[in-house]
């Protein structure tokens, strides 16, 4: 308990930084759920692929150390790569694993099975990425570029941790600032997109009433593709933030993070964009507090217990579920 009180602000701010990562991934779950009523179990893999793409591209362009503007440039490259890769994977996922089911009107449980299958496939494909090269005897060359497939790949860009300013007694670092700043930019961007643009209106229309939306000339398939791309891009951004905070990524890093992000989405009210954000931040902070009180090994237990308790009192999450009604 003392640990919590003595480090309250540090725990709060690092919690918010982790929360931002959860929140961005949660947006993907919530968007897809809002439009398709589907738990996109493979979304965690979308996140993971974005992270690897960022690692590889930075390695390839030799981005290891830089200062000032150089760092900023490399970060922009990292974000762009990760978001593009994740969006692409999400799009492929939708095309291969979900579209055929939608055409056949399959029940939701079947879509979940397909999602689970896609999740296994994607993460194992990453875990086996050396295999095709092994057949040509090239796997040793490959290690230099993409790391050992079953081991963690480190983020190549070293950013020196600098303490910038105090929030009460916590000295906020540049990493915290980058993560939180980037997250807030993404969130505002998405919020504005969904609530103001024509395509965003389409998303809300389909979420509210797919049939009427179709009658009104909204192209449902396009809206669905769009939600996967948006959710994927957010997950890609989250992956870079994760790399900044944690420093490495593995072929199976997505799973537990995905479960937590989904928890965050449910916590806030699945299908509700602002709920996902709120849920993510609450989860990140609560985990940190819980960790301080009960010890680091109980971190995940705290997260899930929180979920169960909140669902008991608010069965539809904190903000209720409505992608249609809530403006982002």
């Amino acid at each position: 308990m003392d640990l919590l009180l003595n480090n309250f602000w540090e725990l709060t701010i690092t919690g918010l930084a982790y929360g931002a990562i959860y929140a961005l991934i949660a947006l993907g779950y919530t968007l897809v759920y809002g439009v398709l009523r589907l738990i996109n179990f493979a979304h965690s893999e979308v996140f993971m692929y974005g992270g690897f793409a960022a690692v590889w591209v930075l390695t390839a362009i030799g981005a290891t150390k830089a200062t000032g503007l150089g760092t900023a440039g490399f970060l922009v490259v990292a974000f762009a790569t990760a978001m593009a890769m994740s969006a692409l994977v999400a799009l492929v996922l939708e095309f291969v694993a979900y579209r055929p089911l939608r055409k056949r009107n399959s029940p939701p449980l079947i879509a979940l099975i397909s999602a689970i299958g896609a999740s296994y496939t994607l993460s194992e494909a990453m875990g086996l990425r050396d295999k095709p090269f092994k057949w040509f005897g090239k796997d040793q060359d490959l290690v230099r570029y993409v790391g050992r497939p079953r081991e963690a790949s480190p983020f190549p860009l070293n950013i020196e941790v600098k303490r910038l300013f105090y929030v009460f007694d916590y000295h906020v670092s540049n990493i915290d600032l980058i993560v939180l700043g980037a997250a807030i930019i993404m969130m505002i961007g998405l919020d504005q997109f969904v609530s103001r643009s024509r395509l965003g209106r389409g998303i809300r229309a389909v979420a509210q009433d797919p049939e009427s939306a179709a009658l009104m000339g909204v192209n449902r398939d396009r809206v669905i593709r769009l939600t996967f791309v948006l959710g994927g891009a957010m997950a890609g951004a989250a992956a870079v933030m994760y790399l900044l905070k944690v420093g490495q990524i593995r072929y199976n890093s997505g799973f537990i993070l995905g479960v937590k992000a989904f928890t965050a989405a449910v916590l806030g009210g699945i299908g509700n964009l602002r709920g996902a954000l709120l849920g993510g931040f609450i989860l990140g902070v609560a985990e940190n507090y819980g960790q301080a009180v009960f010890g680091g090994e109980w971190k995940d237990v705290v997260a899930f217990t929180l979920l169960v308790v909140i669902l008991l009192f608010r069965p539809t999450g904190l903000l209720g579920e409505s992608l249609g009604k809530a403006r982002a």
């Binding site: 055929p100 099975i113 299958g117 296994y120 494909a125 086996l128 537990i256 479960v259 169960v308 069965p315």
Partner: protein, 376 residues
């Protein structure tokens, strides 16, 4: 795929049409054959890279798991993604009472393990079964993970990540030896040098455990059948079909959902206990969430609601990776691809429940009649 299903349903139809005595004889013969599988070691089926008896034990164990989870998912329509949690609680109850903190004999541990899991099923279900279906999925997923984390972290009770060893075996009763068959191509020979003691439970021979697991499968199947063919089974089905309408027809839906959830949990606990006594050593790594996912896949792939379907799927999904061990690394990749392919091309599962097949046949017959070309 269709051919396989038609064949299996055809077998089912023929079997149902037989006179009672023939049914009994055939059923006994089939049961005896299944019991003797690890002794006969039929070519093609027998796994070459891993111990066939051990593989069969796992098949029977997971069949038990699938029957239990089928009650929850298939009958009551509750998506439980944390089934491994109950399995783990069952296993660790036996470990804790039988080895780590007590020396209670196994035969007493098992009912206690079932009671503990039944209780935890009620504790988890009572608050969560009121929330909507999708949430249940995530809450149970969280539960499965919490159980594992508690096992890792509660050092004093569970031995933490070191786990528990020396878990008691069932009492042995050494009566006689059963020699195995060996096959030279398609010619069988009796191998007197390789015998399974009937019935001695030991680390070296998995076959007696297989027999035990199989016996439990038959017992649970029988009870499962009795439940399904009663007011309880009807209430589950009605609840799954339309919860509000069921409630308005006088079905206390919450109570029945809880019953299904807790019954499933108890069967999960039984399976876990069986796993613990076979392994004699357990640690939290045996109980990761991926198993929950695998269990759900067994039920859905088998055809939710059909007990024979889920048993078939459980056995197939356990046996195939062992049989094709040479693919070792790519097993999970293939597993993922197979799940996707099944979802897309065979959404009703390998062997969907009788009912929907019957309905489909009725539809087809009507169609034929409407075309004025009635023939049987």
């Amino acid at each position: 795929m269709n051919a396989v299903r038609n064949f299996l349903h055809g077998v089912g139809d023929r079997f149902r049409a037989l006179p009672r005595w023939a049914k009994i004889v055939l059923a006994i013969a089939a049961a005896v054959f299944v019991y003797l599988l690890p002794i006969i070691n039929p070519p093609l089926i027998t796994t070459t890279d891993s111990d066939f008896g051990a593989v069969l034990f796992l098949c029977a164990l997971y069949a038990l798991v699938a029957i239990g989870l089928n009650i929850v998912i298939g009958y009551a329509g509750l998506l439980d993604l944390g089934y491994i949690g109950f399995f783990a609680i069952g296993a660790f109850t036996v470990g804790i009472l039988g080895s780590a903190h007590g020396n209670i004999p196994l035969l007493l541990c098992i009912p206690i393990a079932m009671a503990v899991t039944l209780f935890s099923g009620i504790v988890l279900g009572a608050p969560t079964l009121r929330v909507r279906g999708d949430y249940l999925a995530i809450v149970t997923l969280g539960f499965g993970e919490i159980v594992r984390l508690v096992l890792v972290n509660a050092d004093g009770l569970t031995g933490g990540s070191r786990g528990i060893s020396n878990i008691p075996t069932p009492p042995s009763l050494d009566l006689f030896g059963v020699p195995h068959l060996v096959w030279d191509g398609f010619v069988a020979k009796v191998d007197l040098s390789n015998q399974t003691r009937f019935i001695q439970f030991s680390v070296t021979d998995s076959i007696p455990y297989y027999w035990l697991a199989l016996t439990l499968v038959f017992i649970v199947l029988f009870l499962d059948w009795r439940m399904q063919n009663s007011r309880v089974g009807r209430a589950w089905e009605a609840t799954r079909e339309d919860e509000d309408a069921a409630e308005l027809m006088g079905v206390p839906t919450f109570r029945f959902k809880l019953l299904a959830f807790a019954t499933g949990a108890a069967i999960g606990g039984l399976s876990g206990a069986l796993f613990a006594t076979k392994q004699q050593f357990i640690n939290p790594d045996n109980f990761t969430i991926l198993y929950s996912v695998l269990f759900v896949a067994m039920v859905v792939v088998g055809g939710q609601g059909n007990r024979w379907g889920v048993i078939l799927a459980a056995a197939l999904l356990t046996w195939a990776p062992e049989k094709f061990r040479f693919l070792s690394d790519a097993r999970f990749l293939l597993f993922g691809l197979v799940l996707m392919a099944l979802a897309i091309f065979r959404p009703q599962g390998l062997l969907p429940p009788r009912r929907s097949v019957r309905a489909k046949r009725a539809d087809e017959e009507t169609e034929v009649l409407e075309e004025g070309a009635a023939h049987v």
